[in-house]
């Protein structure tokens, strides 16, 4: 599955687009991401699934659009 990575999270993932093995839910996705990139655990970001920011766990369909969004501070 494809994950779009925004902002300074790209410093951790090394890319703006990640390809990882399909997972079934948000919780499973963050576990997989933390295993691949342990530094993400110390970083604030939200996971958007199909253009929705959902609090808590949520299912992820086969062709879901996934994005990792960090907060920005600059102005």
């Amino acid at each position: 599955m494809v994950i779009l990575v925004f902002g300074q999270l790209q410093d951790i993932t090394g890319t703006d687009t990640l390809h990882i093995k399909q997972v079934e839910g948000k919780k499973q996705l963050s576990d997989a991401l933390f295993e691949l990139f342990p530094r993400l655990q110390e970083t604030k970001f939200v996971i958007a699934i199909d253009r929705q920011i959902i609090d808590g766990d949520a299912p992820i369909g086969p062709n879901a659009c996934i994005a990792l969004l960090p907060p920005f501070s600059g102005g």
Binding site: G7, D16, E42, D55, P70, G75
Partner: protein
């Protein structure tokens, strides 16, 4: 303003399908408060003033510095060292003399938010740091003001509209529904550390000011409860819906009393003295410089300044309201003590401590001071 002049000046907006006189009248009667006259604030202020917003308020504590100029396009080389809000006043009044303008040359804090936000129809967050972003968000929530948010990072920007009720009066969500708590210091680099090209805040600031116009006039669909992230390098754009977070926000003040007591610096993991420790680049020729080392200390500063050792400071120094003083020592530790002491004794003065001490001053003074 006379009607004929309104027609002439705003002719292109009046003839725009779906906009017209009714929308223009709404702009002319709108009061918009802009928090921060930096990279985002400059285009926001410029375009809102040009479009005919009736009243603009601007709050910003900073003075124009050389490194502002590539992106803060309201300011010129000759403005270096001047209070930003003074330059903003000059430029915007020249651009649109009918504009009502209020300016405050200090940082937006909780007392300011409670006092001033209610006098404005909406607030635009164009600041450059997390403590102020959370403070503005919480202030808008407490005072019931819609908030048009934007922020930038390297080549990307975010825009959102928070706290805007829908047509049925259902309240909008706020920034904490996306990011309930602040990142720790150093986790997210700001423009000073990470760098930025001026066009980015230009683009994002224009998107932000467009959202202001949409909220005021009711045209189109503002980014209510939605977060736009725009990546200028690849032209990737993502708009996501924000759903209400199920958790309450234990770290969010819920009353004016809580709000006034809430320490946003601490909430964002900053030490208590954020804003007091400053870089040498804030120096300007009118600033009083006081060396708090014991007499005969080395290296010398090489600038016009006074010597008052820290041990004698309290009995000797009197500061008037608004007076700006930069305390200097070898490392920045004693001067921090001095600045904190004077801040406590003269709360209306602006006491600063030079971060990094004399060393950081000598490297910059050649370029900053005549």
């Amino acid at each position: 303003m006379e009607n004929a002049l309104v027609y002439d000046r705003y002719q292109r907006q009046l003839s725009l399908k779906g906009f017209g006189l009714e929308a223009q009248q709404k702009l002319l009667h709108a009061r918009v408060l802009v928090v921060g006259a930096g990279g985002l604030g400059c285009p926001v202020l410029q375009y809102l003033a040009a479009a005919g917003i009736g009243q603009l308020g601007v709050v910003d504590p900073d003075r124009v510095s050389l490194s502002n100029l590539p992106r803060q396009v309201l300011f010129s080389d000759a403005d270096i060292g001047r209070q930003k809000v003074d330059v903003v006043r000059e430029r915007l009044q020249a651009l649109n003399p009918a504009l009502q303008l209020e300016t405050w040359p200090y940082a937006c804090d909780a007392a300011f938010a409670l006092d001033i936000f209610p006098h404005y129809d909406l607030v635009v967050d164009t600041c450059d740091n997390f403590p102020t972003r959370y403070l503005v968000n919480d202030g808008c929530w407490l005072t019931g003001r819609p908030l048009v948010h934007a922020a930038v990072s390297e080549y990307e920007g975010q825009v959102a509209v928070f706290n805007l009720p829908d047509k049925l009066g259902i309240p909008g969500l706020h920034y904490r529904h996306v990011f309930p708590s602040a990142p720790s210091p150093g986790e997210v680099r700001d423009c000073a550390e990470a760098g930025v090209l001026g066009m980015l805040p230009g683009i994002i600031g224009c998107m932000q000011s467009f959202e202001v116009v949409k909220v005021i006039t009711g045209i189109g669909e503002p980014l209510r409860n939605r977060l736009l992230t725009y990546d200028t390098l690849r032209h990737r754009q993502l708009v996501v819906n924000i759903l209400p977070a199920s958790d309450a926000f234990p770290e969010m003040p819920t009353s004016a009393e809580d709000y006034l007591r809430f320490d946003y610096g601490h909430f964002c993991g900053l030490p208590q003295y954020a804003g007091i420790e400053v870089e040498a680049s804030v120096l300007h020729p009118d600033m009083r410089i006081i060396d708090v080392r014991e007499p005969g200390a080395w290296p010398t500063i090489g600038l016009v300044h006074e010597y008052i050792p820290l041990s004698q400071l309290e009995g000797v120094l009197q500061l008037s309201p608004g007076e700006e003083v930069l305390f200097v020592c070898r490392t920045g530790r004693r001067s921090l003590q001095a600045a904190l002491l004077m801040k406590e004794r003269f709360p209306l003065s602006r006491s600063y401590s030079l971060k990094g001490g004399v060393q950081s001053l000598s490297s910059l003074k050649k370029t900053i001071l005549p």
